[in-house]
Symmetry: C2
Subunit: 330 residues, 2 copies
């Protein structure tokens, strides 16, 4: 048996079983995006992401500046999804022999700029030769124990929200992969190459206890919703027509897909926050959206587990999503 057969989530499930911890200081361990351990009154949050040339990025699309920015963004987004405050990061980098120093210099310059922007410090790392560029970032954040937002707190009756717009990143990737295009819409490309982690939104939701469960959309809206549903032992209903789609998405997606909502539901890497919240908080969530100037859209509701996971089409008919998203190992 190999990876193609069991897929990424199959592997993670196995790893969870291979290695179990009984340490009471470990609040969340393997299987979550972020590990959480007690450190006195505070908790420490740690997340790590690996990016490999040819798998996660393609040198012909991305420049070193955007590569640095994105490497950090995907980790920041994990901390955002817990409502944490990012503090420190370490970076390991595998570098091909002939890569010009100017590339590495620009890469680090981008890290420095992002580090300042998010008030975090690069504190260590490792360097190695490698055939392909490999980047691994380990990001450490902190939070108050009572404020952390997990994936397992969604209750039937809660609303389901998403920040920003969805599908842009996946569409941006499709456009990057299309050869000989004369014009490429900047907004969609940027969403793929330079996603902006929702750090401030995550912290505001956490501090004000506004979300019952939260995740960042890295694998795709459906698959990440499914993570919340499984962890919370609930079902959900999402209205396709409620999905926040950008103007560019509406225009360009028609060239790639008959179904307007397909990439929005199944495409990954939007790094938007997906969260559930009790109905009585609708006004407070609207105010937060206004004050942070970040769109927050109600797209569905949490149901009892037995109701399952349904998508409501434009014509009112429901369907159960089958193929949820992208399997990284296929």
């Amino acid at each position: 048996m190999n990876l193609e057969k069991i897929g990424e989530f199959g592997l993670i499930k196995r790893i969870r079983n291979w290695i179990k911890t009984s340490n009471p200081d470990v609040i969340r361990g393997i299987g979550d995006d972020v590990a959480i351990v007690e450190m006195g009154r505070k908790v420490m949050m740690i997340t790590t992401d690996i990016l490999i040339e040819g798998i996660h990025f393609n040198m012909s699309w991305i420049d070193p500046y955007r590569l640095g920015k994105k490497s950090l963004a995907v980790n920041l987004s994990d901390i955002a999804a817990m409502g944490g405050i990012p503090k420190y990061f370490l970076i390991s980098i595998g570098i091909p022999k002939r890569l010009p120093i100017s590339f590495i210099s620009l890469f680090y310059r981008s890290l420095r700029r992002e580090a300042r922007r998010f008030k975090i410090d690069l504190i260590g790392g490792d360097t190695s030769l490698s055939q392909k560029i490999v980047i691994n970032i380990c990001l450490i954040g902190e939070g108050d124990k009572e404020d952390i937002i997990f994936r397992d707190g969604a209750k039937p009756g809660d609303d389901l929200y998403v920040s920003g717009t969805v599908g842009d990143s996946a569409l941006g990737l499709r456009i990057l992969q299309t050869k000989n295009l004369k014009y490429r819409p900047k907004k969609l490309i940027n969403k793929q190459l330079s996603p902006i982690p929702r750090i401030q939104l995550g912290q505001s939701l956490a501090r004000n206890h506004l979300a019952s469960a939260m995740i960042d959309i890295s694998d795709g809206l459906l698959i990440d919703t499914k993570h919340i549903l499984e962890e919370s032992q609930v079902g959900a209903r999402i209205w396709e027509t409620y999905l926040p789609l950008s103007r560019q998405y509406r225009k360009w997606s028609t060239f790639y897909d008959d179904n307007l909502y397909d990439m929005a539901l199944r495409g990954g890497e939007d790094y938007e926050l997906l969260f559930s919240a009790p109905r009585n908080l609708r006004d407070r969530i609207s105010s937060l959206s206004l004050s942070l100037k970040i769109p927050i859209t109600r797209i569905g509701e949490i149901l009892p587990k037995k109701e399952g996971f349904r998508i409501i089409r434009k014509d009112g008919r429901e369907y159960l999503p089958n193929a949820l998203g992208y399997n990284h190992f296929k």
Copy 2:
């Protein structure tokens, strides 16, 4: 300009300049093996190491069990060198599509066993497709602020010590690289494939304030001594004949090298501890060696900076080491 030209240490120096931190909580940042940040009364130590197939290991020599063990050992050794207590680790792994699950399962089984042995917990990680196997571990430890042993505390007049024996790992690698050998000495091979981090020794030296500066030998005795000398602004003298060499080393090194001491001085990956200590602690260090049953050998002394770094040969003549060790980027 590319990496071949500036080498690994040239790159690290540049990175240090590209990214500087002014955060007062960061006690040690980039450039050290271990990053140290204040966390209340305690300090948190974080280290990360990347291992890449074809660069750090070769699939024909190593089995998944030893690979897991070594991946963790190189990080544990970094924490040992600061006198810290390892606590948690995260692992990112890049996996070729066709790698059998049994390989990954054995790899994690080995991690689990080592985690129990060193009382640490695997708390998270990331998985990805990759052409070659890539392993990145991020290890988090803790310590008391007053106990940490840095590289910069060596004083003229201090003794210089090393634990265990040196050169075995480099010789083991040479033997692994030799084709068609009928017999391969197990001890030397094991030192290369399954080094044992000196966690207990590091902690004992730290808790009892017995070492003025310390490092683990990963790049080679000369180069790692040089790190201590540069950070401490001192010189040193090492007697070749004092170097602790194993019986197997003495026997097998003659097949590879005319100079008995060459691999002991220049070979890397012994993961022994190299430390300086005031002369008046000689008896206490001997007792510690006896009680922990770990050989500790006095190999030299720290000199004022102007005396430089000298090696004393068997015939009493001194020389200044030029080529210190191995440049990973060449």
